[in-house]
Symmetry: C2
Subunit: 158 residues, 2 copies
């Protein structure tokens, strides 16, 4: 297991340097939903420190049932009051069809492809607003991150 071994070796150095935290509640009461894309450093891109925010990530940064499950715990049990859904340019889910992805993967499932980021974000933010079992979020906002420049290029409000 060469890659796994390398991860574990790196972890030993991390331990020497580690500072513990007291509780699980995000200090800045923020939950960020974003894409799994390897090019996104959520903390650096948004000036967050470790301990500040929940980070929920999946293919596309889409608000799926599983994201709602995570947000239910985040808001009710752990006190978050702001949520940002951050999608990004050059995403693997943008500009492709579900049929194409079914062909590539062999999976006959819903992939939550993105035709247009503003439209996808509006629909995802609405899904958060419409879900009765989430805690009250004071701020529910969508960002489009430009993967080339690192800038939040668009802000979509509800």
């Amino acid at each position: 297991m060469p890659e796994i071994r390398r991860l574990l070796d790196a972890n030993r150095a991390y331990v020497d340097d580690h500072h513990g935290f007291d509780g699980p509640r995000p200090r800045r009461r923020i939950a960020i939903v974003t894409c799994m894309d390897a090019r996104i450093d959520v903390f650096a891109a948004l000036g967050l420190e470790l301990g500040d925010a929940h980070v929920i990530r999946n293919a596309g940064g889409r608000v799926t049932d599983d994201v709602l499950r995570s947000l239910a715990l985040s808001s009710h049990a752990l006190g978050t009051t702001s949520v940002v859904v951050m999608q990004h340019t050059r995403c693997g889910l943008a500009g492709v069809s579900n049929t194409e992805l079914e062909e590539v993967t062999g999976a006959g499932i819903e992939f939550f492809v993105i035709d247009d980021h503003v439209e996808a974000l509006r629909s995802d933010l609405q899904r958060i607003r419409d879900t009765p079992y989430l805690g009250v979020f004071d701020e529910v906002v969508g960002f489009v991150l430009d993967i080339d420049t690192g800038a939040v290029a668009e802000v979509v409000d509800t």
Copy 2:
């Protein structure tokens, strides 16, 4: 929107410092599935650089349908060949019952609570192994991260 404004202000500093990436394929061909917990810095804990790995995060770091959707794209479309499921000590999903979480949140849903990490990881790794529409993963491993020391305290293999 005070918190959102602060995120956007921080992003401006990030842009000045940003280096772009060429493609979306994770350089080290790794996908990490872990918890949304605010105390986890995936890159630091495992010695990963930006661009090395997909990062998929939800409440608990459990292998749900949405994680399988993300892994289908990660493996077939973006070439990952190793997957690590990393859960952690003092997780909000460990040592509670689904009924308790239903009461806290008001949501009558499956929360994927964790009675025992080794058992939960074995079942999650098996779910990855049993899903026919994922690409071939050479390495499928579970880690338990000790949130206090930062150490990978247990490694669960398939």
